[in-house]
Symmetry: C2
Subunit: 453 residues, 2 copies
Amino acid sequence: MLLTFFNSCIFGQLSEDKRMIRQLHELSVTKGKAYDWLEFLCKDIGHRLSGSPQLAAATNYTYYLMKELGFDSVWLQSCKVPHWERGPKEIVRVTGSVEGQFDLSALALGNTWGTGPNGVSGEVIAVYGLEQLSKMPDSLVKGKIVFFNRPFAEAPLNTFESYGMTVDQRGGGPALAAKKGAIAALVRSVTSSNDDIPHTGGSWFGEEGPFIAAYAIGCQSADRLAHALKLGKVVAYCQSDSRMLPDADGWNVIGEIRGSKYPEEIIVVGGHLDSWDVGEGAHDDGAGTVQSIEVLQLLRLAGYKPQRTIRAILFTNEENGARGGKAYKTFTDKTNEKQILAIESDAGGHSPQGFTWESTDKYEGKYRDRLMQWKNILDEYGYRFIFGYSGVDIEPLKPHHGLLMGLLPDSQRYFDYHHSAKDTFDKVNRRELELGAAAMASIVYLADRYGIR
Amino acid sequence: MLLTFFNSCIFGQLSEDKRMIRQLHELSVTKGKAYDWLEFLCKDIGHRLSGSPQLAAATNYTYYLMKELGFDSVWLQSCKVPHWERGPKEIVRVTGSVEGQFDLSALALGNTWGTGPNGVSGEVIAVYGLEQLSKMPDSLVKGKIVFFNRPFAEAPLNTFESYGMTVDQRGGGPALAAKKGAIAALVRSVTSSNDDIPHTGGSWFGEEGPFIAAYAIGCQSADRLAHALKLGKVVAYCQSDSRMLPDADGWNVIGEIRGSKYPEEIIVVGGHLDSWDVGEGAHDDGAGTVQSIEVLQLLRLAGYKPQRTIRAILFTNEENGARGGKAYKTFTDKTNEKQILAIESDAGGHSPQGFTWESTDKYEGKYRDRLMQWKNILDEYGYRFIFGYSGVDIEPLKPHHGLLMGLLPDSQRYFDYHHSAKDTFDKVNRRELELGAAAMASIVYLADRYGIR
C-alpha cells in the first residue's frame, strides 16, 4: 500500500515533468520568437566583430529586447575587448609557378597584423601540420611562406571532433612559423566544405611575437597551390592591412528572472553576441544568443515560476579574446551568488541531439547520476549527455564547482558555414533553432525544480 | 571462471559488432558515393514522374550503375504504371473580390484531370477540412470551388505527424468536394514552409469519380484568398489541361549480393526512383534510392560477406500508384524466398535519428526484443526504434511476417521542400545523406549476422 502510494507519487511527478517539457517544446515551435530575433541580428545588423559599430548595435538591440520582454532585470556588464580590423581586401597571389600566376581566395586570420602596403614575397613551402614544421630546421623555413595543408578529417561522425583535430594549424601554426623565421603563413580553411570560400578565425602569437601576416585560404585554392607545389617551386605575394587597434569597449548583455525561493542560486544560459567580420554570424553564434533569450521566454509562456534565478547572458568577444566570459567570471567572484549550472549554446542552430557536460572532479559522480535521471525523463526526445567540453564563455566558471553544459546540435552542416561568408540567416531552420531553445529550457526547468545535486 | 569466459565472449562479440558498425559509418562519410549518384539523378536527369522519359533515364542509369559496381545480380522488374501529365502551366485566378483580381500560385494535384481549354469559374467557399465539408448540405457546395485551408500543424515535433494530420485534405478533399457538386478544389499546400511555392501530391477520386480539377496553392496565396473571403464574396477561375494517359511501362531496378549461407532469406533496402514533376526529387526520394545502393556498397567496402541475400530495390511509381511495391509483392508470392527484413528510406536525406518499425502481431514481441538488443549495440549513434509505419513500397510485404522498418531522419526541414520546386540537390548535405546509408547498413549487418528472431 505504502509502496503503491510512493510509486504513484513518483509517477505523478514524472508525468508532470514530462508534461512541462512537452509544453516547452511545443511552445518553442508554435510561439517561439527566436527566429525573428535572429533575422534582425543577421539582416538588420549583420556581422558583429568586437569593437565594431554592429556589435554595439546588437548590444543595444538585445538589451532593449529583453527590457521590452519584461524580464525582472536587464543590465550591461562592461569590459575591454580586443579590437581587430581587417582593412581592405587581402591579396594572396601565386606570382611564380609551373602553373603560372593565380590568385588564392583568402581572408586574413583574426588578431593578425597585415604586411603593410608593400606586401611580402617569398617561396612557399607546404607542411602537413605543426609537428612536421617543428621538426624542420629553421634554415629551411627562414624567409619562406609556410602553407599548412592538413585537411579537415572526414571520418569523425561529430564534426567538432574533426575541427579539434585540425584547428591547431590556424590557432598556433602561424606563430610557430614566425618563430622559425617565416615571413607569412597560409592555412587551409578549417571546414567540412570543399568549395573556395575561405573560413577565418583566431590566430594567436602571444604578447611577444614575432608577428607575421597569416591567411586562411579556400580549400580549392589550397588544392591548387598544393598541386603547383608538387610540380615545382612556387613563389607567392601577400598583401594586407589588418591590424590591432587599442582595446575597445564591450558589454555582456544580461537578463534574468529572479528566483522565488533561492534567488542566490544562478542558472546561466548563454551564447555569444560577437561574430567574425564575414557572413552574418547566424549559426555562430546569433543562434545561441536568441536561444538563450528564448529559454527565459519559454519558461514564462509555460507559466513556470522558477525557484532559482535564471539568467540569459549574451557574452561579448568570444571569437577573438573571450573577454566577456572572463568579465562574468570576475563578477561572480565578487558576489555571494552560487553559479550552480551554466549552459552554453555555441555549436549552431541545428536540431538538438543532447548536451556535453563537465565539472570539477569533486562533483562529477553526482552530476553523472543526476543527468542519468534526467535522460530518462527526456527519453522521447533522444537527448544524449556526453562528458566533454562545455563552452568558451562558461569555462571560466569551472572553479565554482557547478555543472557546465554545452548544447549539442546536429553537427554535420556547421563547419560548412563556420567563420565564413556562408554563415547567413538562410542557413538556419526556424524549427531546428527553436527546438534547441526548448532542449535548453527543459534542462533549466529540471535543474531549477530539483537542483543539480 | 565460466561466467568470466562467457562474458568475455559476449563482450568480444559486442565489440566486433561495434567495430563493424563504426567502420560502416566511417566508410560512408569518407568513401561513400551516394552524393555523387544523387547529383547525377537530380542534375543530369531531373524530376522523374512515372511514364516520363526522365524516369526511364533514371531506370537505365541506376541499372547500369549497379551492373558496373559488380553486384551479384542486377535486373529490372517490369509493371504497368499510371501515366499522368500536367500539361501547360495552370491558371488559378481570383476574378472577383473586394481585394480585386489576382493570381494564386498553383500546381494541379497529381492524377487529377484539368478543366480543358475553357476553364471553370465559380464562387469560392473555404472549409477547414473534410469533416466540416462532409457536414455541409450539398446545396451550399454545388457549383462552387471548394478551398481547403486547414494549415500544417506546427506543434508535433516530428513533422511526419503534422503531415499525417493534414494530408487528407489533399488526398481525399477534392473527391469529397466533387461528390457534393463542387466544380473545382483548391488545397492549401501541405508544408511546414510559409512561402508561396505550391506543393503538389496525389489526389484520389476512385475509379468512378465524379472528377473535378484540383490544385495545391502556395501558403501565401492561401492566406491572401482566405483574407479576401473574410471581406466578402470571391469568384475564381481555374484552367488546366492535366490528364491521365494510358498506363505506361515502369520498372523496379533491383541489385543484390547473394547470401553465402541462407540465400533464400532476403533483406531488402529500398527507396523509390520516381518523383513528382517539379523540383529534382532530391530528398523525395532520390536520397532513398542512392542510399539503398550505398548500403550494399558499404558492406562490400567493409569486406563483409553476407550470409543472407541483401537486395537493393529502387521502386517505381511510389508517388502516384505504388505499383512498384505491388509488383515486388506479387513477385515474392511466387518464389520460395523468405522476406525477413525490409527497410525503406523515404523520409529524406537528413541526419538519421533511428527507424520506425512494424510487423504482423505474430512476431511483434520477438522483434521488439531484438530491436532492444540492437539499440544497445547502436547506443553511441543515438538511434531510436519507434513502433509505426514503415513505408509505402514495402508495406505490401507485411503478410510475409517479416520485420518492416523505415529510416527516420531529422524531419524538421523535409516538408519545407517535399513535392515542390524546392526539392533540389542543393538541399541535401553529403554527410547527412551518407550517414543515413550507414544507419541502414548497420541494421542490415545485424540482421544478416544474427537473423531477426
